[in-house]
């Protein structure tokens, strides 16, 4: 444990984070929306706190150790989540309690997209922009976390992205050094964002909406500047743009990197995770569209198809944009989509959920057990692509799955204890743990009616999901803190 080194990093993080409050001030100037003072105040508080953390120890040159990585990662989301709530809490016209502001801010930084605000369309532009920017920053953090840091910590089988990555990504540490890898990934992230904003703009959004939505699309966040989310634009073209970029952002960014460097699409085709991800979303989309059409919910074939695809991709990648109220769709559709969000995005993407690769390994492990019953003496490896996974990885994935389900149940029970009905509680935990956003029942549109305790519990769920469960849980164990 290196408290001084951690304090130094935290100080730097906060000071950097305070800088991100400057663009909303600029927006506020442009639109003259009167939210300027709260941002300036929040900037000063954050910056001075950061400086106060950093100044006393800025000379220290202590190296971080592997174990400190857990603390830094958790602090990144919790502390920034809390300080990120400042501008929202300080803006008095919004009338938000600190709990609400923190929920909104953590929901943003974890790219969940669950909101407590009603009446987005009337809010000042700077506040709207700030929410989107939080998601974009969160997404950027996740990319680095997922590709560069989690593999090092070896969370829940993700060490397979260290040395044992299958197929085209044999050197999944894309470049030899973490800082270089992070830089390369940021360029891709930035590039995707720019492309997405341009596409939205060409499809008919105004400049502000295009930029704002590109932030929350590429980050797989799901915040919108309108209460009706994507449904506000009522444009099939815009929805298709959103589908494409949600799909791209839900794939492993390392794949984007490899295929961009080799100028070919082969890496996507060779990667079994990406193939499974696309196939799964395709089949569920098809089913959803068919179900919508044949139950007469949507009478037009074209509409059924594009709503089916949009909603499946949006929920499946854990983005959480909505066009129509998917919560009131008939039969098992809402629950099916909710379950798809458990699979989530690919490892190394901005998506949430359990990650496709883990789900794939779970299926293969299940099949292996069946084959073992037929051939008791057979040696059956679990393979991804043509590469066999070590039992260590498979076990870690099973462990991850077990803990994920256990945490899901515990949080759901706590929520029901606060007086929530079962459907709402179930969907709220699923939506928050999978970093997806909108749930069913009372939380289908917004989380404003949840109790304060409920909101804090859901904040914990969002952080749990984002930090791949173990990163957060390990801090709660006594062994971690023992000297």
């Amino acid at each position: 444990m290196q408290p001084i080194a951690i304090q130094r990093i935290l100080g730097i993080l906060l000071m950097l984070f305070s800088i991100t409050m400057l663009p909303p001030i600029l927006i506020s100037f442009i639109y003259e929306d009167g939210a300027r003072s709260s941002f300036i105040l929040a900037f000063l508080v954050t910056f001075i706190t950061g400086l106060a953390c950093w100044l006393p120890v800025y000379r220290s040159r202590r190296e971080l150790r592997l174990r400190d990585g857990f603390i830094v990662v958790v602090l990144f989301w919790t502390v920034l989540g809390l300080f990120g709530a400042l501008p929202l809490a300080l803006y008095e016209d919004l009338g938000m309690s600190f709990t609400d502001a923190a929920f909104e801010s953590i929901s943003g930084l974890t790219t969940t997209g669950a909101t407590v605000i009603v009446g987005l369309d009337q809010l000042p532009h700077s506040i709207l922009y700030y929410r989107q920017q939080l998601q974009w920053l969160g997404g950027m953090g996740i990319i680095v976390l997922a590709v560069a840091i989690l593999p090092m910590l070896g969370i829940g089988g993700m060490q397979l992205y260290r040395a044992e990555t299958p197929g085209p990504m044999k050197d999944s540490k894309l470049t030899p050094r973490i800082t270089e890898t992070a830089k390369a990934l940021w360029y891709i992230y930035l590039g995707l964002t720019v492309l997405c904003a341009l596409a939205y703009w060409l499809a008919g959004m105004n400049g502000f909406d295009a930029l704002s939505h590109s932030f929350s699309t590429v980050a797989i966040g799901g915040f919108s500047t309108h209460d009706a989310s994507m449904g506000f634009f009522n444009s099939t073209l815009i929805e298709w743009v959103a589908i494409v970029f949600m799909l791209l952002a839900g794939m492993n960014f390392a794949l984007h990197f490899v295929s961009w460097r080799s100028f070919s699409l082969m890496p996507y085709l060779q990667d079994s995770e990406a193939r499974f991800y696309l196939a799964l979303l395709f089949m569920v989309s098809l089913f959803t569209a068919g179900y919508l059409y044949f139950t007469g919910t949507i009478n037009n074939v074209g509409d059924a198809i594009h709503h089916g695809i949009f909603q499946t991709v949006s929920i499946g990648t854990t983005t959480g944009f909505t066009t129509t109220g998917y919560a009131i769709w008939p039969g098992m559709l809402p629950v099916l989509l909710l379950f798809i969000s458990f699979v989530g995005g690919c490892a190394g993407s901005t998506g949430g959920g359990m990650k496709v690769i883990r789900f794939l390994l779970l299926i293969k492990q299940g099949l292996r057990e069946i084959t073992r019953l037929v051939h008791p003496s057979a040696q059956i490896p679990v393979k991804v692509g043509s590469k066999a996974m070590s039992d260590r990885v498979v076990n870690a994935v099973w462990g991850f799955f077990a803990v994920y389900v256990a945490m899901f149940v515990i949080i759901m029970l706590i929520l029901m204890m606060t007086g929530m009905d079962q459907i709402t509680a179930f969907s709220a935990v699923a939506a928050c743990m999978n970093n997806m956003g909108p749930g069913l029942g009372d939380v289908a549109a917004h989380y404003g009616d949840v109790t304060d305790i409920g909101k804090w519990v859901l904040c914990f769920a969002m952080l749990l999901g984002r930090l791949e469960i173990f990163t957060l849980l390990v801090l709660l164990t006594p062994t971690f803190w023992r000297k």
Partner: protein, 457 residues
């Protein structure tokens, strides 16, 4: 011919055995002096003890004036370096090396003359694998040998009661199958060769060798015996080099199970193979075979390093209901013992591999040699050079050629065309002629037949 053989292991010893009987000067080099003593006691050859790739050792073995060096030690690296040394220091004309690792073999530019100067690469495991693969492909055949890059095959098959041609004269074959071109090259009855004529009557239990294009093999076989169902379920015992390669190339079109008794090897196998089922256990374990439905298995191949284990596990599999069993057997004595008994096919790895070496030792332009019947008979593919004046075969009909006794010409390959010969077929320049020699001692006469006269430039 002066030949140096590096390595006195299984392959080295059997090569020495085969070549020593053909009036060649053989020197065998090995690091193990005891092994060399054994060899020297049995065969008429010279031995040198030492590290095979060291120049001093090679010089002692007479590399200065050797015509050929055959590097078949256990180590790929030693074999490759030995060829390099022989080329650079001694200018040995022909260098043959065994290289097993696919990592080397897949890089063909490695073996260019200016890189690693190896003229011929042999990979015995690959050859044995191909041999077994063809047997599984043509279920019912005892041997299937390819010529002219697979365009023509020589097939050995045992005639059974119930085959339409059994009990009839050979010339009726054409009436039975007017569209199929084939020629019976030899018949072995109770171990004795018969040179087939039109009037020869095929009896049950005859071993018939016929030449046919690949597509016609099944049709011809159906004349001689009731056809087996094409096989689907293959069980391999032993996941060594041969077992693994075989499983790898069979698994896309057959249901392959492979039994390996070493835990570590079986794990590695299961990781490398995609669709085969890798079983960890003993191939002679009755329980295991029962559990894996041996009675439904079409072919069982025992491919471990241990002759006795192979024979026993194959016998067990046969008794438990496997349709056909094959065993890999290194010792020549065992091959005679078990072949055509309980075990359907005994595979001798030496016989499968020696041919590729013999092709380079034969005088005249011989492309392919297959050793048959434990080295007693031979099938060769030779190229006819010269013209009607300088050559003893070009421009002549089959009847006019003065073939040594016991030799038959089965087919000619002209460009891409396969011609199954008749008595009036004419051989042209650059034809590939496929011949069957019942008695290997006549090989010298055949070589002489295909050598071009001195006047030909």
């Amino acid at each position: 011919m002066k030949i140096i053989i590096l390595g006195a292991g299984q392959v080295g010893a059997s090569v020495a055995n085969n070549l020593a009987s053909e009036a060649n000067d053989i020197t065998v080099v090995d690091i193990d002096a005891r092994r060399l003593e054994d060899l020297q006691d049995r065969l008429d050859l010279r031995t040198v003890a030492g590290h095979a790739s060291h120049p001093e050792v090679l010089a002692r073995a007479g590399a200065e004036d050797a015509d050929m060096i055959i590097a078949v030690t256990n180590s790929d690296e030693t074999n490759m370096i030995a060829c390099q040394v022989a080329y650079t220091l001694f200018h040995t004309p022909t260098k043959i090396a065994r290289v097993r690792a696919a990592e080397y073999l897949s890089q063909t530019q490695l073996f260019a003359q200016e890189a690693l100067p190896i003229d011929v690469l042999i990979s015995p495991e690959q050859l044995v694998k191909n041999y077994i693969e063809r047997l599984i492909e043509h279920s019912g055949a005892l041997q299937v040998l390819d010529f002219a890059e697979g365009r023509v095959s020589l097939v050995a098959v045992k005639a059974y009661y119930g085959g339409p041609l059994v009990g009839h004269e050979l010339r009726e074959l054409r009436e039975h199958m007017p569209k199929v071109e084939t020629r019976v090259a030899a018949i072995f009855r109770r171990g004795r060769a018969i040179i087939p004529k039109g009037t020869t009557v095929i009896e049950a239990d005859d071993e018939v060798f016929f030449v046919a294009a690949k597509k016609d093999i099944r049709a011809v076989m159906s004349e001689l015996r009731k056809l087996d169902r094409p096989c689907k379920r293959v069980m391999l015992a032993g996941g060594g080099n041969i077992g693994f390669r075989l499983a790898e190339s069979l698994e896309s079109s057959y249901q392959v199970k492979i039994i390996e008794h070493n835990l570590k090897t079986s794990k590695e196998l299961s990781e490398k193979l995609d669709r085969s089922i890798v079983l960890y256990g003993d191939a002679a374990d009755e329980e295991l075979l029962l559990e894996e439905n041996i009675e439904n298995c079409d072919v069982f191949c025992a491919l471990t390093n241990d002759d006795e284990a192979n024979i026993l596990s194959a016998m067990l599999a046969k008794r438990m209901g496997a349709k056909k069993v094959m065993a890999l057997i290194n010792r020549a004595a065992y091959v005679d013992l078990v072949q055509s008994g309980i075990i359907d096919i005994a595979i001798s790895p030496q016989q499968a591999t020696i041919g590729s070496l013999l092709a380079h030792i034969r005088r005249g332009d011989v492309v392919v040699v297959h050793s048959l019947r434990r080295g007693a008979a031979e099938a060769i593919e030779a190229i006819a050079h010269g013209d009607s004046k300088t050559s003893k075969v070009v421009g002549k009909t089959i009847n006019e050629i003065q073939l040594p006794p016991g030799t038959t010409i089965g087919a000619i390959v002209r460009g891409n065309e396969v011609i199954i010969v008749h008595h009036d077929s004419v051989i042209e320049e650059d034809d590939h002629v496929i011949m069957f020699l019942v008695d290997k001692k006549r090989i010298v006469d055949v070589e002489r037949l295909f050598q071009v006269g001195i006047t030909f430039i």
